[in-house]
Structure formats: structure tokens, C-alpha cells
């Protein structure tokens, strides 16, 4: 039980446990606040707060962000391919068609979201 591997595992678990407990515990004990209505109210540049802060907003923002993420990752995958492309082209044309297939799959996805109306802004 005194082998370095065992000690490493025990140490790791203990550290995680202690860190988690310490972070929560110290802030619960030493960071207590005295509640006060003014302190708890919403900050609105000094004027008294009016209306609710939770307005509804359209889901189109979320959709655009999600689609951006997907196609951005696609571009990320294009970069290493571009670096080795010229060298592998000497072996055969397969490397070109592989990336074409990958882009084609994502193009199918793009046509899908287009036809489904998910990129309609209005």
C-alpha cells in the first residue's frame, strides 16, 4: 500500500475532497452577508428598478450561435487537412474526395436547416 501509485491516487482523491469542501465551507463561514432590502434589490444604474429583468427573447439567437459553432468546428477540421493535402495528393486523389465527403455531410445538414426554416430571421 506504500507504492507510489497508490499514494498518488489517495493524494488525488484527498486533494479534490479537501479543495471542494474548503471552497464551499470557507465561503459559507467567513463570507456571510447581512441581508438588507437595498442590497438585495436589482441594480439599474442607481434609479429604482422598474419591470422584471427576465424578458422573453427570441430563440433565433440561440439557433444562430449553435449553427455557427457547428460550421466553425467544420472549418477547424479543414485546417490540418490543408496542411497535409499537397503531400498526400502525390499518393492519390482519395484525400480530396474524403474531405469532399465530410463537407458534403455538413452540406446536407445545412440544406436541412435551410429548408426547415431555422435560419429565417423573421
Amino acid at each position: 500500500m506504500t507504492s507510489p501509485d497508490a499514494i498518488a491516487v489517495i493524494l488525488m482523491f484527498t486533494f479534490i475532497l479537501v479543495l471542494g469542501l474548503a471552497l464551499v465551507g470557507i465561503s459559507a463561514v467567513a463570507g456571510r452577508v447581512k441581508r438588507d432590502p437595498t442590497k438585495l434589490s436589482v441594480y439599474e444604474c442607481g434609479v429604482p428598478p422598474s419591470g422584471t429583468s427576465r424578458e422573453r427573447f427570441s430563440v433565433k439567437f440561440y439557433l444562430v450561435a449553435l449553427f455557427f459553432l457547428i460550421f466553425d468546428i467544420e472549418i477547424v477540421f479543414l485546417f490540418p487537412w490543408a496542411l497535409i493535402f499537397k503531400r498526400h495528393l502525390l499518393i492519390g486523389p482519395l484525400i480530396f474526395f474524403e474531405m469532399l465527403f465530410f463537407l458534403g455531410l455538413l452540406a446536407v445538414g445545412y440544406i436541412y436547416i435551410w429548408k426547415r426554416g431555422a435560419i429565417e430571421w423573421n
Partner: protein, 491 residues
């Protein structure tokens, strides 16, 4: 082109499924004709099926730079998943639980899961394993929430997601610890490191516990089963049937591959394994198996909802299946794979009938079955076949499967687990027979009959008849499975 061409040829099943996925989506968008889309995916699945059969001509080998392994074990499971997907599509056709205008998405997601599963059963590298496991899991979360207007379905998706993310993270931590100990992600390299150098037992037990969290989540064994009843009850029934069978099978498949390759030595003759020193994971498995069986069976006794009862019964069956892995030899493995085939037929059939009855009555109470045997005899006789087979009563396939599992235990002299299993089979008889009693020995309260379309009648026949036949003549299946438990050994 040489090496890459061979890689792509061995990966052709997944590529064909991928193309089917794309085509079915395009056809659904262009034509909006659900029958045409349905036949596209069926043809695509058929092509994939024959492609897997043609892959038997290649010699067992590693491909894609030692990330994937081409062997009969993987090919058996690929065939299994394609057949299960085929039946799922038959089930989902004109089902009121799968929104028919979003059928393209249903086919897309189910086929994506199938592609992930086919890659998962072949992977011998932890990164590919994790990647395909996430593909299977994340799309399953989305698929279990497919009924957007049905609150239990939304609840199922959230619970599945949260539990699955937690299990996945813990498993990933275990994998990273294993990498830290052994310096490699490849299953065979890790095994070489673990068996050559002596590693203290504590880190190994910690790793196995964390891996079991992730693997046990997929295999639905206690204490990682808490998500299953809610998810199986809330998800649309075709998807529940798919998850109960295929998701569980893929969990067992990659569990077998990882544990039998990394944590077990191929001692002596082929077909005999011995767990590596200081790490008695079969003992852990036997305890988990006993707990799973008992918990599943006892919880199913109190259920008033058909799908929830069947969900708990499928948890209990995961316990039975785990018994076959406790005895780490060829007999246990053959028994597990054989039981999977029969389990698919009877469990899918039971969920199919539950789904058809649910379609008619618009809810899934067991009281819907009251007196149904006199009004719709065909569907109730099929349900009785499935229920009796699930219990393990001859002459149905379930009995043969249980015989093989129990005889593997007897041969290895694991008698404690055997007694627990037999008691559990007796307990399970109560809730299966309760349903049969409701169907045939009670007077019907109303005149509602369950009418099946021809396609659904055909599906039910395709599920019930093999369950019957496999109880009488199972030799060809057994021979085929015995030849399928061959993993590629590192060269």
C-alpha cells in the same frame, strides 16, 4: 490507395448507413412522403446488412491505425444492430408516438446511433471508444425526448442527459487514470503494461470503479440504473424498445471488449481467461449482478404501468446477462450473446405489443389489457409468448437462453449467484403472469379492440415466431455465436 482503401472497405457498413441517413433526410425534405422515406431507410439497412455479410470474407485484423478491430465479435454485433434498427423502423411506421412530420429526424437520429454502435463494438482504442460512445449516448438523449408535447418524454430526456453526462465524465476520468498508469490508450498496450509490471491494487480498483460507472450506465446495472425506468417509460415506445435492446447490447459489447482485453489474461487454451492479479473484478460483477436482478424484479412487482414494468424487467435481464460475464470463459460469453438474440426478440416484442395497445388506448396502464385476449386474440397470444419467454418457461427461446446462462454458472461452480438467479426467475413469474391473467382470465370492460396494420402484423409475426422456434431448434444460432466470440489478439 492500398492501405486507405482497405480501411474504407472494412468501414463500409458505417459509410453505407451514413449515406442512407443523408438520403432519407433529403427525400423526406423534398417529397414529404413518409412511405417513400420509410422504404429508403429499409433499402439502406438491407444494403448495410448484406455488406456486413460480405465483410466476413476479410481476415481478422486491425484497421484505421490500430483504432478499430475487424473480427467476428464486432461483425455479429453489427448484424445485431442493423436488425434491431430495422425492427425499430417497422415499429415507428405510422406510430402515433413518433410525429410523422418529423420522421426524417427520427430515421436520422436512429441511424446515427446505429453508426455509433457499429464503430463502438469494433474499437480497441479508448479515444475511438469514447467518441463513438458519446455519439450513441448524446443522440439517445435527443431521441428519448422526441415527443415534444409529452411531458414524460421531456423528463426522460433531461434525466437521461444529466445521468449520462455524469457517468460519461466519471468514466473519462477512469480512462485518463488508466492512461496515466500505462502510457497508452490502446487496449492491448494497456494490457501488456498491466500484466508485465506489478501495479498496486488500489489505483486499479479505483479505475475499475470509475469505468464501471460509465459502462454500468450503458449496461443498466444497479446501482447505475436509476435513469432507466423514467427514460424507458417517458420515451416514445419505438425508441424505448430500441434503447432497451440495442443500447444495452452495445454496453455489454464494449464492456466485454475492454474488460476481457485489458483486465484479463488469455490463460492457457483459447476461451479461458483469468483476471489479472490483485483485481478480482468478476467478484464485483457477481455482486452487482445479484443486486441488479433482485432490484429489477422486486421493483417490477408494484408497477401499474406496462412500460415501467417492462423497463424494470429489462433491468433484471441486464442482471441475468451480467451473470454470464462473471464466469470469464467461452461458455459464459456464448451464453450472453445467445441470450442477447433471444432477449431482443422477446423484449422488443413485449414493447411492441405495449406500444400497439398504448396507441389504441392513448395511455399505458396495465388495466388496458383487461379482457383484451377475448377481443384481440392475435396480439395477446403474441404477448403471452413474449412474457412466458421473458420468464424463462419452455418451450420458448428465453428458457434456452437461461439454461445456457445457468449452466455456465454451474460449470464454474458459482452457486450463490445461481440460487439468487433462480429465486429471481420465480419472483418475475408473478408480474409476467399477472399480465397474462389480465388478458385472458378477466372479463373485458369495454369493446375497444386493438387493430393492427398489415405491416405491424408482419412485424409481430417476425418477432413471435422465432421466439417459439428458438425454444425448440436453436442449434444453428448457437453454432454461429460460438464462432463469433473471437477477438483479434495483438500481433
Amino acid at each position: 490507395m492500398g492501405a486507405m482503401g482497405l480501411n474504407l472497405a472494412l468501414y463500409s457498413t458505417e459509410i453505407i448507413l451514413c449515406l442512407t441517413l443523408c438520403f432519407s433526410l433529403i427525400i423526406q425534405m423534398i417529397s414529404r412522403n413518409s412511405t417513400l422515406t420509410f422504404w429508403t431507410v429499409i433499402i439502406g439497412l438491407g444494403v448495410a446488412f448484406f455488406d456486413v455479410i460480405s465483410l466476413y470474407g476479410y481476415a481478422p485484423q486491425f484497421y484505421f491505425d490500430h483504432h478499430l478491430s475487424h473480427d467476428p465479435f464486432g461483425l455479429f454485433f453489427k448484424l445485431f444492430f442493423i436488425v434491431v434498427t430495422f425492427f425499430t423502423f417497422l415499429f415507428g411506421y405510422r406510430s402515433y408516438e413518433v410525429a410523422q412530420d418529423r420522421l426524417g429526424e427520427f430515421y436520422l437520429m436512429t441511424l446515427a446511433i446505429t453508426i455509433g454502435m457499429c464503430t463502438l463494438v469494433s474499437s480497441v482504442h479508448f479515444l475511438t471508444l469514447y467518441l463513438s460512445l458519446e455519439l450513441v449516448s448524446i443522440v439517445s438523449y435527443a431521441l428519448s425526448g422526441f415527443r415534444k408535447d409529452h411531458p414524460p418524454s421531456n423528463e426522460a430526456a433531461i434525466k437521461y442527459l444529466l445521468y449520462g453526462a455524469m457517468a460519461s465524465g466519471t468514466m473519462l476520468w477512469g480512462i485518463s487514470l488508466l492512461y496515466g498508469l500505462s502510457g497508452s490508450f490502446h487496449l492491448h498496450s494497456i494490457h501488456a503494461t498491466l500484466s508485465s509490471s506489478s501495479i498496486a491494487p488500489l489505483p486499479l480498483y479505483a479505475i475499475v470503479t470509475m469505468l464501471l460507472f460509465g459502462f454500468g450506465f450503458k449496461m443498466v446495472i444497479a446501482p447505475f440504473h436509476m435513469w432507466a425506468p423514467d427514460v424507458y417509460q417517458g420515451a416514445p415506445t419505438p425508441i424505448t424498445a430500441f434503447l432497451t435492446v440495442a443500447s444495452k447490447a452495445v454496453g455489454f459489447a464494449f464492456f466485454i471488449r475492454v474488460f476481457y482485453t485489458v483486465f484479463a489474461n488469455n490463460a492457457g487454451q483459447p476461451g479461458e481467461w483469468m483476471h489479472i492479479a490483485h483485481l478480482n473484478w468478476p467478484l464485483i460483477l457477481s455482486i452487482l449482478s445479484a443486486v441488479t436482478m433482485t432490484l429489477g424484479n422486486l421493483s417490477a412487482l408494484f408497477q401499474k404501468d406496462t412500460k415501467r414494468m417492462l423497463a424494470y424487467s429489462s433491468i433484471a435481464h441486464a442482471g441475468y446477462l451480467l451473470m454470464g460475464l462473471v464466469v470469464i470463459n467461452e461458455q459464459g460469453l456464448t451464453a450472453v450473446l445467445f441470450y442477447f438474440v433471444v432477449y431482443f426478440l422477446m423484449n422488443f416484442g413485449a414493447f411492441f405489443v405495449a406500444g400497439m395497445v398504448g396507441n389504441t388506448f392513448k395511455n399505458e396502464n396495465i388495466s388496458n389489457f383487461r379482457g383484451l385476449g377475448w377481443k384481440s386474440p392475435f396480439i395477446c397470444i403474441a404477448m403471452s409468448i413474449f412474457l412466458l419467454s421473458l420468464t424463462g418457461i419452455p418451450p420458448f427461446g428465453g428458457f434456452i437462453g437461461k439454461v445456457y446462462l445457468f449452466s455456465a454458472l454451474v460449470k464454474a461452480e458459482v452457486y450463490g449467484l445461481l440460487i439468487i438467479a433462480i429465486v429471481n426467475v420465480v419472483i418475475s413469474l408473478y408480474y409476467y403472469a399477472y399480465l397474462i391473467r389480465e388478458m385472458f382470465l378477466e372479463k373485458p370492460e369495454n369493446d375497444v379492440r386493438v387493430v393492427l396494420s398489415p405491416l405491424h402484423t408482419l412485424t409481430l409475426l417476425l418477432l413471435a415466431v422465432p421466439t417459439l422456434i428458438l425454444g425448440i431448434y436453436w442449434e444453428p444460432l448457437f453454432v454461429y455465436i460460438s464462432s463469433s466470440i473471437y477477438f483479434v489478439v495483438a500481433s
